[in-house]
Symmetry: C2
Subunit: 345 residues, 2 copies
DNA sequence: GAAACAAGCGAAAGCGCTTTCGAGAGTTTC
DNA sequence: GAAACTCTCGAAAGCGCTTTCGCTTGTTTC
């Protein structure tokens, strides 16, 4: 199927050089746009390469250059929620495929993690992106080698490391802001598992938002922490409605909780959003896009996080690291669950 | 942080050889367990390697061996549903990290796909796993190079290729079998988008199951095709209940549809599973595990698919390809939505 | 004790590419 | 017309590892 010489081994630079009637060195320089090569010669080499269907062998280039042009992405993403968006963001940032990504799933097992790390180091990867599975800071990787690492989603506990995190506080604040804008005044917060920073941060953001609007927090004046599940959303919604029957909106710490809460609100005879607006976090499409009504949610911008992580990693690889914790801005995705009351049928 | 000589360049096999007082060749053979090396010598080299913290440079090994020990996984998994389980399965099968996986997301864009393919080929990958985003057969990759390819999830349209697919028919059949076992007799089927093979296959399986039990298909005797969404589940459930108020179970073509259907069933005053049992497909935990009630679902066994794909790819790489379409067995995951009526409170 | 073997080891030639450095050839300068 | 440059290009030395093949030893065999 390939060009002349098909059926045999791959075309090497030496073949191209021979075909173009130049030396290996010149061929290399010509194709890489480096060194002094007369334009005519360069062109001749280019044509030869084209004609023979030549492609560089990245392995060989890597060996010689001392860098492989690959990075390792280490995840523990059991639910498949974070890694792919982040990977996609990273791919974007790595651009025209200069860098390829080894994706490894450690499944929350540190033995497996170590194992993958060593395998990747043997592969001479130029850097690591470590994707945590919660926003809680994690201890840094212990590497013997000098390879730049960027921590994504879960920041490193050390400030000397490079981390990119979501901004849960901003997201919480933004959720309230939106509800207030939509005319809601009696806002309650159903939190996630308070053992997680995400739950506390989102609640903190809600508090900030309410303070800015000079509003009290509904349903007892405190967040109702529980777990990250739909069933907690149901339970908590019952509690909240009991505690504060006039509540007009619920900020739920994730989409699952929001789904559960919405269900109970509706079962109680109240309309969403007519009587109560509901907002979630994560913008997990499968939960938000097609519920009845579709759920407004704060997208924590994982793709953006992936891009940022990739940029920071590239910078670090090139010797210009930016240590510290970076964040990406959440995006509000408005759907009907927080629609204007007046707009509802 | 590393062993002696820290702060400088990486330890090479030459260092180990020198330290152990043997030649490069011997060191290589010793550490690789190849060739004739006296036990004592082998041990001495081993100790030297350990002492110096030596790790092989896989790039160099690959260059010399002509294979890189990497495979490319090409996906278009926009929702993050397939790729990760498959990747995990593949990692398992690739075992002790002999093979590492480049994961690339083409985002359904064939330009990007081509781009990734070329980048991966330049990286000398030993094989491809192509993960489709539907179960519909897809045209084979057009490669110039002789690299084995395994098509996962979406099989190749060509029988000469190696494909691994889920078994939607078996799953449909199994769903009915389960319902029948639970004493259900009046079974309706809410299908997905009939433009997809998955929808048709699952429906076909349902038909087979019903035939085996000598039962008719409820709600008009035909599957109700629509789309893969929750909202279709709601719409269809209304239709089905209208058409056949005495239906005692719904086989829904995926978990989203099942969620939507369950919602409507409950709103109609019927209990799940007391009055109507509901079963979904895909076993997408976030939808099934924590709904009210939790949803029984057919897990199509994507991890198993990934494993199988990896095994087939390894076999093909080693020169023993098994062309044709292989399948993995679905697994029934029973939850409360199909519980025994008598067991329900 | 010589002949015939076997076992253990190393020199050297790759794998495919990059890069340094010097040699020719062609220009410019005075 | 020689000196001093400037361009182009190529020989060769790596990058780190594998593998072939032959040379030393040491061991058997009769």
């Amino acid at each position: 199927m390939s060009s002349p010489g098909s059926g045999s081994r791959r075309v090497t630079l030496a073949d191209v050089a021979a075909f173009a009637g130049v030396s290996l060195a010149t061929a290399s320089k010509a194709l890489n746009g480096r060194g002094d090569v007369r334009d005519a010669t360069r062109e001749r080499v280019r044509v030869a390469a084209e004609r023979l269907g030549f492609e560089f062998n990245t392995l060989a280039q890597g060996l010689s250059a001392g860098r492989s042009g690959t990075v390792g992405m280490l995840t523990s993403d059991l639910v498949g929620r974070f890694s792919l968006p982040i990977l996609m963001g990273a791919e974007d940032a790595f651009g025209a495929g200069q860098l390829s990504v080894f994706l490894c799933d450690a499944r929350g097992d540190s033995i497996r993690e170590q194992h993958h790390i060593r395998a990747l180091l043997r592969r001479q990867i130029d850097g690591f992106i470590v994707v945590g599975n919660s926003t809680d800071p994690r201890p840094p990787l212990s590497l013997d080698a000098e390879v730049p690492v960027v921590y994504a989603y879960a920041p490193s506990t050390s400030d000397e490391d490079i981390s990119v995190a979501v901004d849960d506080v901003a997201a919480g604040r933004r959720a309230v802001e939106h509800l207030v804008q939509m005319g809601r005044r009696r806002i309650a917060h159903i939190g996630g598992d308070s053992a997680f920073a995400a739950a506390r941060d989102r609640a903190a953001g809600v508090t900030v938002g309410l303070e800015e609007a000079s509003l009290p927090l509904g349903a007892g004046g405190r967040p109702h922490y529980g777990s990250w599940s739909e069933s907690w959303g149901r339970t908590a919604a019952r509690v909240v409605l009991e505690l504060d029957p006039d509540v007009d909106s619920l900020v739920c710490a994730n989409d699952q909780i929001a789904r559960g809460a919405m269900e109970v609100v509706q079962q109680s005879g109240r309309g969403v959003p007519d009587d109560i607006a509901v907002i979630g976090f994560d913008n997990w499409e499968v939960l938000t896009a097609d519920s009845a009504p579709p759920l407004t949610s704060l997208d924590l911008n994982l793709e953006g996080l992936g891009q940022r992580a990739a940029q920071l990693l590239v910078a670090a690889i090139e010797g210009a690291p930016s240590p510290g914790r970076h964040t990406v801005e959440p995006r509000l995705v408005v759907r009907e669950s927080t629609g204007l009351t007046s707009h509802r049928r």
